[in-house]
Subunit: 341 residues, 2 copies
DNA sequence: CTGAAAGCGCTAACAT
DNA sequence: ATGTTAGCGCTTTCAG
């Protein structure tokens, strides 16, 4: 059995409250007694029980981080950054995976909400309504979704999507496709809006295909539709989808970028490794993890009333990274009868 | 404020202890009262506070999972599987990342130990001594390390390494290199022993190079030594190292597998995506995650005394997956003066 | 089967 | 500066 505060009190000949104070408000205790208490504590290997402490203070010093799929390479850097940031502020981040299942997500939010001081929702699959309903006791910060009244860290993928479309049109493409992501994804919506906008501005055609599962498999499945659409350039919801698509295209002997150019989003590690290395919109995932923790801790630190009425919003920039999966479109077949002028 | 057990008691006209029983031992309460209590609870949205419950029962219903680097693609599938397995048994798994820092690992073990019922250590960087010292209050299960007196889930990478060497010699290779992993890694030791063994049995030369950082970067750095060693086949500590090596080799215009064959270990997602697709030893990471949770839960379930004296060991098989990074060695240069016979 | 009472380990007023 | 007291939300004897 680990030593309790009482053991320390006994060993150092003071009352438990004095021991408690030595740890929570050291300046309120006589320097001499403090050293005595600390000595006894060290001797007994005493460490305050955070669970018990949480019961009285209402602060667990833990944060919860919920992701749809930890195996999606987009998340680990974000998680890592969040944990590192929190650690510096004496907080721990507990990560949980919902398996892309909204019901699991809801369940997780509910149980976690009692064990942590604040919740980070990354790419939630729950509806805005559901999240708002669940958002009662503790502060939330949502990554990549804008929900009225809830703090958010957003990546400006719209800007990235626009750049991607312009890159493609700049190369000479006139018929583009967008592989949309899950319907519940705010990010997918942003991408779509921006891409349609940019395509219209450039006067090129944009076919929206999807929704697609945000995985390699999703990308592979989309290949026939891409081919059927007769496009020469594709912007995918994320790198995984883009990679899956290039794989399936390669299997069909359709050259990337020779016949079709492909752009992903996220710049996960695989993007660089892909064959061909993927042109992609890099999203600042680590910065997002840090910003999310900062925002959450700020809310946690506020008085409960304030926290409920404060909503923070951070928007992070994205960058187009041009690699080898994009090139000018194939020369159009010479029309029968030769060129006109 | 969330509803407490007292609110439910009041609403359903029974004593708190009856409410408590309704949730912890439903059969000990009258069916009729039970439905009444449940109704009131549902009405108020009551959910037992796990933190408070933990204080009296000593069971948090949480498990801790500590990994060295969540961004290493080896871990996510393991984590996912562990979480899924635990969820089925009404347990949550909290994941924490040590950033490959033994001190952070120690710190994490100590704080987590009070908040969870059992700890999963995956590829720890701490010494056996340190882990044994820390292993006091709650059950531990270690993945990929054998420590006296501590339960473990092991992957038989030795078998895989042996198969890899035999695959290479079967192809005709006579001079091999092994890129070893971190010194603190039990896995690396297993691989090395088995590879040396197999090489000796086959009568081929095996140069051990390392230790290497278990990352792509580590693999890139090893390239010059591999070249200097004049080998035609390489077994790397893991896929990341193998991939880094193929990258560096490609940069030097050394063909894989044309001039050098490369084998990785783990079969992470990148392995298949690599150029060329990597021959590798697949490790059953998801099975390991499940087995680890099973073992841990078994220990948690035992009386405290028993748990301390029980040690479980699970060994999981590995499989060689042949892809395109291995081939027969280049034909030896014809000796000056032509062939003899 | 249900209620009463004690207590898990700790903190937070309130006294002294 | 330190001790006293009460209580966080829940479970668990022990009576009734």
């Amino acid at each position: 059995m680990p030593a309790t505060i009482r053991d320390v009190a006994r060993a150092s000949g003071v009352h438990v409250s004095t021991v408690s104070r030595t740890f929570t408000a050291p300046h309120k205790v006589n320097a001499e007694t403090r050293t005595r208490v600390l000595a006894a504590a060290a001797e007994l290997g005493y460490r305050p029980n955070r669970v018990a402490r949480a019961l009285t203070t209402g602060r667990t010093h833990n944060l919860g981080l919920i992701v749809a799929d930890i195996a999606n390479p987009f998340f680990p850097p974000l998680i890592k950054a969040a944990q590192a940031q929190a650690r510096g502020r004496d907080y721990h981040v507990f990560v949980a995976d919902t398996d892309e299942d909204p019901r699991v997500e809801e369940e997780l939010i509910q149980t976690l909400a009692r064990q942590v001081d604040g919740l980070l929702l990354c790419g939630p699959r729950l509806s805005n309504r559901a999240i708002t309903r669940l958002h009662t006791n503790i502060p939330f910060v949502v990554v990549n979704r804008r929900i009225k009244g809830i703090s958010a860290v957003l990546m400006d993928v719209g800007h990235g999507a626009r750049q991607a479309v312009e890159h493609l049109t700049g190369l000479g493409h006139r018929r583009l496709a967008l592989l949309a992501g899950p319907e519940a994804s705010w990010t997918s919506q942003q991408i779509r809006d921006a891409a349609e906008d940019a395509a219209a501005a450039q006067g090129v055609e944009l076919t929206v295909l999807g929704p697609n599962s945000p995985t390699e498999h999703g990308g592979r499945l989309a290949a026939p539709d891409v081919l059927a659409a007769g496009v020469t350039g594709v912007l995918a919801y994320n790198d995984l989808v883009a990679i899956g698509l290039t794989e399936a295209l390669a299997a069909e002997r359709v050259e990337v970028p020779g016949r079709i150019s492909v752009i992903g989003i996220d710049d996960i590690m695989h993007a660089r490794l892909n064959r061909p290395p993927l042109t992609t919109v890099a999203t600042p995932t680590m910065a997002a993890g840090r910003a999310a923790v900062d925002a959450l801790l700020q809310l946690v630190g506020r008085a409960d009333g304030d926290a409920a009425t404060t909503t923070l919003e951070t928007i992070l920039e994205t960058t187009l990274i041009v690699r080898d999966s994009t090139a000018p479109p194939p020369a159009p077949p010479v029309p029968l009868g030769g060129t006109r002028s």
